[in-house]
C-alpha cells in the first residue's frame, strides 16, 4: 500500500537490531490512517450511535494505538503482535454489539485481522452437555472466528464456580490458549454487565491478563434515549406527531426507573408495541366509519399509542423489556 512507499526505514529489520534503528527515520502516520480509511469507520460510529461519548473516545484511542503500533512495526520498533483482546462492559442495549462490528472493521482496515467478520456467541455455543463435547464445540467456534472477531456475550456464564464439574472451565482454557497462540488470527471481545465481568476476571486471572482493552458502556441519558427513539422511528418510516414526541419523553422517564431496563433495546420494544397500538387504532377506526386512511395516518404514531403502555399504570408494573 501507498503508506509503505513513504516508509524510509528498513522495515525488515528484526527487533534485535532495534538499537540500530535510526531515530531520524520517518514513517507517514497520516498515510496509514488515510489509506486504511479508518476515520470513515469512526465517523460512521459517531453518526449511527447516539451519545456514548466515552466509548467513542476509547475507540478512537484504540484506533490511534493500532495505527501507531503499525507505524512502529513498519520501522522495526515492534516485533510481537500486540494483544488486542477486549472487554466491553455495560448494561444491555448500550451498543456493545454495534461497536464490536465497527471495531472488527477498524481492526481489519488496519491489518490486524484478515477478514473482519464477527462471530457472536454465548455460553451455549461454546460449552457442551457431556464429557468430550465442549472442546469440539469451542474449537468449531474458534475456527469460524479465525480471521475476524469472536464476540462472547455475557462471557461470565462460562464460569460457574458453584458447579465444580462445569464444562465452562474447559472452554475457557481452550479460549485462553488460542487467545495467546493465535494473536494474528483472531481478536476476542468479551461482553457483559460491568460488575459480573469484574467478578469473572477476579476468578479467572488468566483471562483478565490477556485482555488489553477495557471499554465501559454507560447507560444512556433520557435525552439520548429520546433521540434514539427518534432515529428508530424514522428508520421504520414512521413519525411522532408533536404530542407523541412528548409522550415518548414521559415514557422514557418512567421506564428508566423500572426494573429490567435495557436502554436502546427497551426503546425499540416500546416502539414496536406503539406500532401495534397504532394499527389497532386505525383498524378500530374502520369499524367506526373511517374506512379510508391516508399514507400520513399509516405512518403517524400519536400520543395515545404510547400513553396506553402499562408503564403508566403503576410505578412498579413494568412494560416488558
Amino acid at each position: 500500500m501507498a503508506a509503505m512507499a513513504l516508509v524510509t526505514a528498513a522495515r525488515l529489520l528484526p527487533l534485535t537490531e532495534e538499537a540500530t534503528v535510526d531515530d531520524a527515520k520517518t514513517v507517514d502516520l497520516q498515510a496509514i490512517v488515510r489509506d486504511s480509511n479508518v476515520t470513515e469507520v469512526l465517523d460512521q460510529l459517531d453518526r449511527e450511535l447516539v451519545g456514548l461519548a466515552p466509548v467513542k473516545r476509547r475507540i478512537r484511542e484504540i484506533a490511534a494505538y493500532l495505527a501507531v503500533t503499525r507505524a512502529r512495526k513498519t520501522l522495526g520498533l515492534e516485533a510481537t503482535p500486540p494483544s488486542l483482546h477486549m472487554c466491553f462492559t455495560g448494561n444491555p442495549g448500550t451498543g456493545k454489539t454495534t461497536v464490536a462490528l465497527r471495531m472488527a472493521e477498524i481492526l481489519h482496515r488496519l491489518g490486524y485481522v484478515r477478514k473482519g467478520h464477527v462471530v457472536s456467541v454465548t455460553r451455549d455455543d461454546l460449552v457442551g452437555q457431556y464429557i468430550g463435547h465442549t472442546a469440539p464445540k469451542t474449537k468449531e467456534v474458534l475456527k469460524r472466528a479465525m480471521g475476524g472477531v469472536l464476540f462472547i456475550d455475557e462471557a461470565y456464564y462460562l464460569y460457574r464456580p458453584e458447579n465444580e464439574r462445569d464444562y465452562g472451565q474447559e472452554s475457557i482454557e481452550i479460549l485462553l490458549q488460542v487467545m495467546e497462540n493465535n494473536r494474528d488470527d483472531l481478536v476476542v471481545i468479551l461482553a457483559g454487565y460491568h460488575d459480573r465481568m469484574n467478578t469473572f476476571f477476579s476468578s479467572n486471572p488468566g483471562m483478565s491478563s490477556r485482555i488489553a482493552h477495557h471499554v465501559d458502556f454507560p447507560d444512556y441519558s433520557q435525552p439520548e434515549l429520546l433521540s434514539i427513539a427518534g432515529k428508530m422511528v424514522s428508520a421504520m418510516n414512521y413519525r411522532f406527531d408533536a404530542d407523541a414526541q412528548q409522550a415518548m419523553g414521559y415514557y422514557i422517564d418512567r421506564r428508566l426507573t423500572q426494573p429490567n431496563f435495557a436502554n436502546a433495546r427497551s426503546v425499540r420494544n416500546a416502539l414496536d408495541r406503539a406500532r401495534l397500538r397504532q394499527a389497532n387504532r386505525l383498524f378500530a377506526g374502520v369499524g367506526a366509519g373511517r374506512p379510508n386512511v391516508t399514507a400520513d395516518d399509516l405512518s403517524t404514531l400519536s400520543a395515545s399509542d404510547i400513553l396506553a403502555s402499562r408503564v403508566f399504570d403503576a410505578p412498579d408494573s413494568a412494560d416488558k423489556t
Binding site: 469440539p136 474458534l142 475456527k143 479465525m146 493465535n182 488470527d185
Partner: protein
C-alpha cells in the same frame, strides 16, 4: 523403503513437490475457502491406494472464513499423530460435483515402507494382483 522417484507415497495433489510449509498450506486452504468448499483433515496408518476411508480428525469444517482455523486443526492432527499420514481434503457441495475437489498430504511417517505386490498365478499366464501395505503387517496404531 520406497524406490520411486521421491521415495515416498505419491497420493494427493502435491506429493511430487517438497513438503508444503504452513504458509503454502494456508494458501491452498484459502483457495478452497474462496471456492466455498468445506475442509476435512484425515489421517491413517494404512495408506493402501484403495483405503478410501482414512480416519476423520473431526468432521469436515464448514463455514470457515479464514484458513487459520483449518491450519490449527491440521497442526493439532500433526501433534496427535506425528507418525501417520495426514491429508487435507476439500469438498464441493455443488450439484454435479458433490465430491472431493482437493486432496493433499500434509504429514508423513518418518519412514515410508511402501507396498509389496503379491502375485497369484492363475489360469494361463494370467495373474491376480494384490497390493500389500507393509505397514499393515503390524497391528493398528503400532505401525511406523
Amino acid at each position: 523403503m520406497m524406490t520411486n522417484t521421491n521415495q515416498r507415497l505419491t497420493q494427493g495433489q502435491f506429493s511430487f513437490l517438497p513438503d508444503l510449509t504452513d504458509t503454502q498450506i494456508t494458501a491452498q486452504l484459502d483457495y478452497a475457502l474462496k471456492n466455498g468448499w468445506a475442509i476435512g483433515v484425515e489421517y491413517t496408518d494404512d495408506p493402501h491406494p484403495r483405503n478410501t476411508y482414512w480416519e476423520m480428525f473431526g468432521n469436515p469444517m464448514f463455514d470457515l472464513k479464514d484458513a487459520a482455523g483449518a491450519l490449527m486443526e491440521i497442526n493439532s492432527a500433526r501433534k496427535t499423530f506425528p507418525n501417520q499420514y495426514i491429508r487435507v481434503t476439500a469438498f464441493d457441495a455443488t450439484r454435479g460435483v458433490e465430491s472431493p475437489t482437493m486432496s493433499y498430504i500434509v504429514n508423513r511417517p518418518a519412514k515410508e515402507p511402501g507396498f509389496g505386490l503379491v502375485r497369484q498365478e492363475v489360469d494361463g499366464r494370467a495373474i491376480r494382483y494384490t497390493i500389500h501395505s507393509y505397514a499393515t503387517d503390524k497391528p493398528e496404531s503400532e505401525r511406523y
